[in-house]
Symmetry: C2
Subunit: 356 residues, 2 copies
């Protein structure tokens, strides 16, 4: 039976990424060695790293004066590394969910943090739009997509301070004006590649301004000076990211991807708004994530939750169970998710409704 991969992360990747990785594990770039056992300093692997960095710059139109890094440790390490390098006195954070809250917690270990707004009062089911940022804040940190709660900041906010963003789950899903950001970070395991790599895009001149001594491994400047090879990178993961970037370019880049993602998410939200058995958890349509579509059973059908889950599972739908903070269901439909799988889920919902 065909499986439909709705996992939130690690999540669906293009078949191309898997095929190329298998080839490289068998024989990497004609070296006669496996990608798994070749030095990161071999010229063949250095070329992988350089090509991946160049493609990130090309696809996101990264301006001059920015560096692209592939690090380890995921967004969770960035929660601490960002303020270590960028927070001297005060930073502003927008609290839109669990991951944003974790970022705030770590930043508080480093300096003064102003939480400019929070949607916690409504279980993070919307994106706050009205807030004041202290004029002396060094940056505003945002979490562009909130995987657990199904909300997304779909436009780069227009604010008076530089932005810093956790784009772990929506990077490359749409164009971004990188010039508004001092730093963008993203764990690879949603739109980019297998887990183990973390993408960082950082404005060079934003660095070197804090007074504290930053531990070597947490210092972006060290990684920039060593072109992401200060220590051994996660070679398999970086290779996987490169393949996805190549695939992404072939699809037409982030502009094409945005159109597809609007369409794909539309199919699913339309059904949720139509089908009386289900309710999307995010009421404001402009805040609904194109990456993670969260929904629950309608109040009068709540006892059917397990039945629908079993029904969907029997149709090959995997990873649909919602996060415990929201309950219900979550369909993660990242870049690599084909429209046909989204349609299969919609068909499943229609059929379930008909059966009842």
């Amino acid at each position: 039976m065909k499986k439909h991969n709705f996992y939130a992360g690690p999540s669906i990747l293009p078949g191309f990424t898997m095929e190329k990785t298998v080839e490289a594990i068998k024989d990497f770039a004609g070296t006669g060695l496996s990608l798994m056992e070749i030095s990161h300093r071999s010229k063949e692997f250095v070329a992988v790293m350089e090509q991946a960095q160049a493609l990130v710059k090309e696809l996101l139109q990264v301006p001059e004066g920015y560096s692209v890094l592939f690090l380890q440790g995921g967004a969770s390490l960035q929660f601490y590394m960002v303020p270590c390098n960028l927070l001297n006195k005060k930073a502003a954070y927008l609290n839109t969910g669990s991951w944003a809250s974790k970022a705030i917690k770590e930043a508080k270990l480093v300096g003064e943090v102003v939480e400019v707004a929070s949607s916690k009062n409504a279980n993070f089911n919307y994106i706050p739009k009205e807030y004041n940022i202290p004029a002396d804040a060094e940056y505003l940190h945002i979490t562009t997509n909130n995987t657990i709660f199904g909300t997304e900041i779909l436009k780069d906010p227009d604010v008076a301070v530089p932005l810093v963003a956790d784009m772990s789950s929506d990077v490359f899903s749409r164009p971004v004006d990188v010039s508004k950001y001092n730093l963008i970070y993203a764990g690879a395991q949603k739109n980019l590649g297998p887990s183990g790599a973390t993408l960082v895009i950082v404005k060079n001149e934003a660095l070197g301004k804090v007074e504290r001594t930053v531990p070597t491994i947490l210092d972006y400047k060290i990684h920039i000076d060593n072109e992401s090879m200060f220590n051994t990178p996660s070679t398999l993961a970086v290779y996987g990211c490169l393949q996805t970037l190549i695939w992404l370019k072939e699809q037409g880049g982030v502009e094409a991807m945005e159109k597809i993602n609007i369409q794909k998410a539309g199919i699913l939200y339309d059904e949720l708004d139509r089908n009386k058995f289900f309710v999307p958890t995010v009421p404001n349509t402009e805040d609904r994530s194109r990456m993670n579509v969260t929904f629950v059973m309608a109040p009068e059908y709540v006892e059917l939750e397990k039945e629908f889950n079993d029904f969907a599972s029997s149709r090959g739908m995997l990873g649909l169970k919602g996060h415990r903070s929201v309950g219900g269901f979550r369909a993660s439909i990242y870049n690599a998710m084909p429209a046909a799988s989204v349609q299969a889920l919609v068909d499943c919902m229609k059929e379930f409704a008909k059966m009842k």
Copy 2:
């Protein structure tokens, strides 16, 4: 032509590890999904993590009261993470090379560090044996194998304080008395698996004694409480580690491996001591690494260095160039390196000598 992989790391792995990884990328554990795109919280991946931890405990006979973790960030992150968690007032460090020096540098950001001895005066070509450890030191940090300089601490030191060790390049190459250690860490990419995973074995009761607030992602206790799933692990790398651990057990475990490694290294050191064209860089036989055999041309043949390198390359020997701090050559002959490849290198040296 058959290639012989003498890279220092990422380095040779068992063919079994590559084959199993390829299979899992095509279809992981019968899920119909690829290992690259499956949730780390799926029951199939949780089983991988649990089996890998259990095999580490079995193979190294880890006593009760220790936890096994698979983290990210390599030894370079451990250089900072170890003192954050274990150094309250004072720690002792043995300086046996570049990696030990880096560990010392990061520990000094955290607390008082006493460098109990250093072999820097002789370009780290021996292991200091005589040193005094302050009675109030919380641990003695050692780097058991020095990849760059070709030295190795082949017996667990007998000292009055708990040990902490960077075993990145010789873990699983011989039995270790884990009970002497508060913590052992190892980047995977030598004897264990592909790059991207970091093994940590830590004594639970050594934790929670420092006064500082440890950032969440750097806190071993958080990782223990979450069974290495506090954040998304490097799934491909952990899977690769598990396959190597399974292979290792099939070879007879670390006792069998030690015998093989003694033999393999012996073949090469015997030739270096015999062949007048070459000189091993480590004079004391008891300090010579079984993992990284470093050697240079004899002084009277130093101009033949490039010629030998080209000759060896033409015979399929890869990664033999020595680190710039030592020059000459480095043959890395980790667990997965077959004796036949070591013999091929020895034959190459013999033939080169005959030609001259």
